[in-house]
């Protein structure tokens, strides 16, 4: 009891300090060496599949608190101890608590585990020992030039379970325990501003988090029905399906370490980097153990193993600020990744699937060409430019086979063309294209005398599947503490029913499962 009272008093003191410290805000100085910042946010998401029958699917309430403690300044730790060449050090802690109240509000979500968490997401120590800097701890590291696309930005996995990739990636990256060291070099030969950066993740590994239980609003269940496959048809016989999933993801051992390095600098006016990362695929592959298939009466027992293969990512990034003709920053990212898991259709030739486990790894190349441009559109805004950012992605299977399969779907079980009621089976007739493309476009500006209205427009389009995505967002800065945001997400496709790889309108814009949604956000920040 006394302990609880103490905790309450401490919490009260902390909140009181935050809310009533008039001298600083945004980043609040608790002492000369301790800073706090944070926010609370309420996000309400209404899904309106066809602009009717709005369905509240999320009421996510988030509190985030971030602290930074400067325990070493000017080569003196804690104001007492000389640290020689170690000039500065700080401790950063970022904690987040989440409670999605929709799971308590909606009867249809009864039986589902609510989406909530309360954890220290990031905790790291920064040390400056010129020319060396080191960040040790649970953290996020982002490489590359692309926005919202995985090519070089593969060091941290993503949590796609609660709102797919619709959130800022800072909030859905899964921080890992790692060391990140940078040696500043400066000028060397024809290169300027150079440095070498190394990242080492000794034992920490996590896969991307994806919900597959179709009862969750943002579950991923392919292009089929929001059901679980419970049947299999062999000949004209329907069997119950019993799948045992063995998780063979890397254990937390040193031999399963991941790491990489990059050399970054400026050559002429081109800002470039050369990158290499030795890791594991964040997306698991599935090996089907056909040797363990058993039929027991009316049930087919099968075993699948989820594996995260070793990957090698080699990449190049470059950007160039072209000031004369296009007045744009041109961005480039090119990677070759070896070790990406792929499914192979059952019964593929031994040359394609020698293990007959319907699994292989492939190599892919990615080229991204992007353009950032502050642009005057004076009929729409006389005071401020629009920031326009476009990206073109081309992803190619370097070792391609027509036996490769994409995402499977759940369909009604049928025997001899007759549908069996309430029985579902898995079907995969999706063959990925060797070359995959997607184009993105984003534009944002601000209105109002103090620029407090901030509209954003986002468009993504896959020219092969014709799947598309639009986001229309309007943010209003009510005060220095309070921000309102309303957002409309639209998934659609121009034609056909081909399934693309990008999880946009071709996947989330289908019939009754269309995931159009309206998002209402309120944020109170310190």
């Amino acid at each position: 009891m006394i302990r609880q009272q103490k905790q309450a008093a401490l919490a009260g003191l902390l909140l009181g300090t935050l809310f009533f410290t008039s001298s600083s805000w945004g980043i609040v100085n608790i002492t000369d060496n301790l800073e706090l910042e944070g926010f609370v946010n309420a996000k309400n998401v209404v899904r309106a599949t066809n602009f009717s029958n709005g369905d509240l699917i999320m009421q996510r309430n988030t509190a985030q608190l971030e602290g930074k403690y400067y325990f070493l300044r000017d080569s003196t730790a804690f104001g007492r101890f000389s640290t020689g060449r170690l000039e500065e050090a700080t401790l950063t802690v970022i904690g987040r608590s989440v409670y999605d109240s929709v799971y308590d509000l909606r009867d249809s979500y009864d039986g589902l585990e609510g989406k909530s968490e309360s954890k220290i997401r990031e905790v790291f120590v920064d040390m400056v020992l010129p020319p060396f800097t080191l960040r040790l701890g649970r953290q996020q590291v982002v490489w590359g030039e692309t926005d919202n696309f995985r090519a070089l930005d593969v060091i941290n996995p993503l949590d796609l379970s609660w709102h797919w990739s619709q959130e800022p990636w800072e909030d859905i990256r899964i921080p890992l325990w790692m060391a990140r060291g940078i040696v500043d070099i400066g000028k060397i030969g024809p290169f300027e501003e150079t440095f070498v950066e190394a990242v080492w993740v000794p034992t920490d590994f996590e896969s991307n988090k994806v919900d597959t239980d179709p009862r969750y609003p943002w579950a991923f269940y392919g292009a089929g029905l929001p059901k679980v496959a419970d049947s299999v048809v062999i000949g004209d016989q329907l069997y119950d399906l019993d799948v045992t999933v063995r998780d063979l993801s890397p254990s937390r051992k040193l031999r399963n370490g991941q790491g990489g390095f990059r050399f970054k600098g400026i050559w002429g006016d081109i800002d470039f980097s050369l990158n290499y990362y030795y890791g594991f695929s964040s997306s698991p592959g599935v090996k089907v153990r056909s040797d363990l298939v058993e039929i027991d009466g009316s049930t087919l027992h099968t075993v699948v193993e989820t594996v995260n293969p070793r990957t090698h990512v080699v990449g190049l990034t470059a950007n160039y600020s072209e000031e004369r003709f296009t007045q744009s920053v041109i961005r480039l990212e090119a990677t070759v990744t070896k070790g990406i898991p792929i499914s192979i259709e059952p019964g593929a030739p031994l040359g394609i699937d020698p293990e007959q486990d319907q699994f292989d790894t492939v190599s892919q190349s990615v080229i991204m060409l992007g353009l950032d441009r502050p642009t005057w559109i004076r009929p729409l805004n006389k005071l401020r430019t629009f920031f326009i950012s476009t990206q073109f992605f081309w992803r190619r299977y370097l070792d391609y086979s027509s036996h490769y399969q994409g995402v499977s779907s759940v369909v009604p079980a049928t025997i001899g063309g007759v549908t069996v009621p309430d029985r579902f089976m898995s079907l995969n007739n999706n063959t990925p294209d060797r070359d995959e493309f997607v184009i993105t476009f984003a534009a944002s500006t601000s209105y109002g005398r103090a620029g407090r209205w901030k509209p954003t427009f986002v468009f993504a389009y896959d020219p092969r599947s014709t799947g598309a995505f639009n986001k229309l967002s309007l943010e209003y800065l009510w005060s220095k503490h309070l921000i309102f945001n309303v957002q409309q997400n639209l998934y659609w496709r121009a034609s056909g029913d081909e399934q693309g790889p990008w999880s946009i309108g071709d996947m989330f814009g289908r019939g009754d499962n269309r995931r159009n949604e309206t998002v209402f956000n309120i944020t109170f920040q310190f």
Binding site: R180, E323, S328
Partner: protein, 445 residues
Amino acid sequence: MMTEHSRLKINLSWRNCPLYIHASVLAVIGLCISISSYASTDQSYKTLRQWIDSHPSVADTPTPGQHLTEKDREKYLEPLIPQPAWEYYIFAGMDMEIGATGHYPPPTGWDKKPISEYKLDERGVLVGFTGGRIPFPEIKQDDPQAAQKVTWNMLWRPGTDNYDMPMVTWLRSENGKLDRQMEFVGVSATYARGDHSLVPGYEEVKSKSIMEFRSPRDMAGTKSMTITYVDHYKENSGWLYVPAQRKPRRTMSSERTGETMGMDMIGEDALGFSGKLYENNWTYLGKRSVLATINVRDNPEFGGPHLWVPHKARWEVRESHVVLIEPKADNHPYSYRIVFIDAETNWTHWMFAFDREDDQLLRMNQHFLKYSESYASEMAQQAPFMKQDFSKNVGHRVFVHLGETDINAKKPHATMTHCYVKKRNFSPARAKQFYSLRNMTSGRR
């Protein structure tokens, strides 16, 4: 009596702010206050040119120690405050303390002859100059390139960089309504120092600066690094680190004509003019005495009907070069820009920019300066979020920039900034580490 111009202003104000149409009596009263303040002056380019040509007599200069109020409007204020600023800077209850016009010697060595060979090329661009001095100590009024030379002196003035500078910015509508407030910290170093670079091997760099936001929270940790070059034809290099993206992003420098962050200035407006000289036509309009907040005691409080301008601050009468700048580009928002640059210290006091559509005032700024040696007897205030040892400013013999007022006359709206400057000498090794692309790969988070 309401002039035709003031009626136009009111109409624009109503159109721009439709919410006011249905607003309360209180808002109407507020608008009436606006009416009275707008009814006073003509803010056209033509009028400012006439004002510049009408020199006040020496006998009409206020005496040191005198406090000017609205009653001194005709005798002192209108002759010494550029006319487009009257409606903001002359107001009921104003208190403008007059200090003796001071002499502010530059740092030791700045008045010596330059070391390197340099020249102005045919486009008025300074070529071959590497700093450490004022490039043109003497300005001859009949020199056809006098305007460019005054501007080059301003761009290479002593005290431009080498500081830690916490800042607070307030964005206010009419009647003092606070729309936004921001806090950030700028750190800057001059590399080009005449006979050497701060960091050997970086002789092409003029200066490097890093600016990081502290508040509001959604911007906290956002930081930018800018490299300016000795070669004026080379565009600045810039990077922006956004915590939400956790990576730096290259920025483009050649777009300098849009407002950003809701503030009431464009990139080119910094310190009167921060654009490219070759993109403009230049005319030297002579010298003119103006009132200037050149050596304020402290970051001035803001007054006036909208809380936009310095109040109870110390002003001096300063002789200033007047430079007319005409952008060459047809799509530039300004038809004319007129800058008042101190004839002794080369710091900008006033800037007025006129709308290309009607030659009426679009934006203006006015700067608050403090001489470093005055810190020996008068300490300026500390930033609300960090404390610094200002006594270290003494001995630099330069001005520090304590802030500015930026007004967009057509919104109408203003951005006021307080800077809390501590001079700082970076060691070459520390500068090399700090102002590096490496430092932009991560941030607070």
